[in-house]
């Protein structure tokens, strides 16, 4: 069995599960945010069960339109907060929160071997820890909150093997963009993407979170990594000693195995309006920008901010660029502050925001006007994603984003630091 099949078998009381099989799986963690929770709560109340299955396993995070951007958002956040208080759920208030997918691993809530479901498509981020994590809609989440289990079709697994050594300035974001560019936005539809190979072994946990985060952009149900020493160190550092780990068997059956030589991969940029519309940096040409966003659930971790700060050191952001930096959580913000990264951003001329999903989904804190172009370290560049349907979003790594903010056009980090 693959890692995914092992986890799902263990959570459905079976010795073995196979792709295509329908199972009812117990869940270890259920997640909702301020825009999806209101609908989930309404559906939960229709079930008439009263209490959630286990208040310690249901997490709510006000991150999308919070701190409240307008009266309507405030009403939705209030509804979620009240429900969380009544039920005694795990809840992170503004000032103590983070973007959900940065926050949960950091708080030691998401762990290896777990089944995690969340009312947000980027719930797949926790696959970096060797958990089976997947996004669902509000009704599924309502049922998961009530019953502590979900129905699921066991997905086939596609194994991606990354050989070789990562070139300079190439990281998790480039690997996942390259992969989505290769297989397309439905290249892993209904499947699990299992990431492996020596380039993955060498990749930081932050880089792995970035890759797992974008598995859904290839249509995948989940992205997953086998647990290694880096995972164990990360989990220990975040306060946990007890968890179960599963590994793919030597003879596990994969729907497909796709291999890449990473030594030939350049930094990647996804052009509008699909994450698969990818070009290597050398073929981008002259693309002038109006805004650069560094952060999000994809690239808002400390390692990401360190890379950006290194490029901004002693430099000024281009006079025609609005650069917005969003640390992924209060903890990331505080550590970045202590390391002097925040000072570097502000001195370079960037706006630094409290954690929020804000601009990524066109909510607030950096919405685009018609005709404007933004390069962002986030995960989606669909039509109208960050504002006007006539605006454009380009996706890239924090290194490319910082270099581009300095030069006012999509640029290579090599042009800033050689």
């Amino acid at each position: 069995m693959t890692l995914t099949e092992r986890i799902l078998a263990a959570h459905s009381g079976k010795r073995k599960v196979s792709p295509g099989e329908f199972i009812s799986a117990t869940v270890d963690l259920v997640l909702a945010n301020d825009i999806m929770a209101p609908l989930a709560i309404k559906e939960f109340q229709r079930l008439g069960v009263g209490k959630v299955f286990d208040a310690r396993k249901v997490v709510m995070v006000p991150d999308h339109f919070c701190p409240n951007k307008d009266i309507q958002s405030a009403e939705q956040a209030k509804l979620m907060r009240q429900f969380a208080r009544e039920q005694g759920l795990v809840y992170f208030e503004v000032g103590r929160m983070g973007i959900e997918h940065v926050l949960l691993p950091e708080q030691g809530l998401a762990l290896p071997g777990q089944v995690i479901v969340g009312a947000d498509s980027h719930t797949c981020t926790y696959g970096a820890l060797g958990a089976f994590a997947t996004g669902m809609g509000s009704t599924d989440i309502a049922v998961a909150m009530a019953m502590g289990e979900v129905w699921m079709k066991v997905p086939p697994t596609i194994r991606f093997v990354y050989h070789g050594e990562l070139p300079k300035w190439v990281g998790g974001k480039d690997l996942i963009l390259y992969t989505i560019g290769d297989i397309g936005v439905d290249g892993a539809l209904y499947s699990v993407m299992e990431f492996s190979g020596e380039a993955i072994d060498a990749l930081s946990m932050d880089g792995r979170f970035t890759m797992a985060n974008m598995a859904v952009e290839a249509g995948a149900k989940a992205g997953i990594f086998n647990v290694d020493n880096k995972t164990k160190e990360y989990v220990t550092m975040h306060g946990n000693e007890t968890y179960l780990t599963y590994q793919s068997d030597e003879d596990a059956e994969y729907a497909n195995v796709i291999e890449y030589d990473v030594s030939k991969i350049e930094p990647q940029v996804a052009f509008p309006c699909l994450p698969s519309n990818v070009k290597p940096l050398s073929q981008v040409g002259e693309v002038r920008l109006d805004q650069v966003v560094i952060g999000g659930c994809t690239n808002g971790r400390l390692g990401d901010l360190r890379v950006a700060a290194r490029l901004f050191q002693g430099k000024q952001i281009h006079s025609e660029i609005r650069c917005i930096v969003i640390p992924g959580s209060q903890q990331v913000y505080l550590e970045a502050l202590r390391e002097g990264l925040i000072e570097t951003f502000i001195e370079a001329g960037a706006a630094v925001s409290t954690p929020t999903c804000g601009p990524c989904c066109g909510g607030h804190m950096g919405v685009l006007a018609a005709g404007e172009r933004c390069l962002s370290t986030t995960n989606r560049n669909f039509v109208g994603r960050m504002g006007s349907p006539q605006s454009e979003v380009y996706l890239a790594s924090p290194a490319v984003a910082a270099a581009s903010a300095i030069l006012g056009r999509i640029a290579s980090p090599e042009e800033v630091i050689s």
């Binding site: 609908l39 947000d120 996004g135 809609g137 936005v185 109208g384």
Partner: protein, 167 residues
């Protein structure tokens, strides 16, 4: 159940951000949200759609976010079902859970054009394009999903299970 209506035709990768942009999700009111359905790729959709109509698209319909508001606004705008070559998994699941019929059929999706008159028999998966005088069959649902559909969605299905558990 036999359904009849006109087709609103789209291409591949119709994502949840164009079905219902996230920027409008600061409200939960379905009437309000439905006015914005498909706005970013088809400004006329909301005024053109009639109760009973179908959305027809090619591959990967509903990709992107997990927002259940996407199938909800489609259903609430009067669409009786979505026919596509393939669906993104969260959208498909959400549609089943809330009782929006979704039919997977590449041949029907490719042959149908904007405005074609369609007739669909949900129990058999039969799709007739009356304009083109062609008949197709959608991929049947697995038995488990059929159960959910029969109960009228996941909430009703779960309530039934809860009732069965009680002595």
């Amino acid at each position: 159940m036999r359904l009849k209506g006109k087709a609103h035709k789209y291409g591949p990768d119709v994502n949840t951000d164009v079905i219902i942009p996230a920027r409008y999700l600061n409200v939960s009111d379905l009437d309000e949200l439905t006015k914005r359905c498909m706005e970013d790729i088809d400004r006329e959709f909301a005024s053109r759609v009639r109760t009973g109509d179908f959305i027809v698209a090619t591959t990967n319909f509903g990709c992107g976010s997990s927002r259940e508001q996407a199938p909800l606004v489609i259903k609430h705008s009067g669409i009786s079902g979505v026919i596509a070559s393939s669906f993104a998994r969260i959208f498909f699941r959400n549609a089943i859970n809330i009782g929006l019929p979704v039919l997977e059929c590449t041949e029907a999706a490719e042959a149908t054009e904007m405005g074609d008159e369609l007739e669909v028999e949900l129990t058999t998966g039969e799709i007739i394009n009356l304009t083109k005088s062609k008949k197709f069959y959608a991929k049947p649902y697995p038995a488990f999903m059929l159960e959910i559909t029969k109960e009228g969605g996941l909430i009703e299905y779960t309530k039934e299970r809860l009732r069965a558990k009680k002595p």
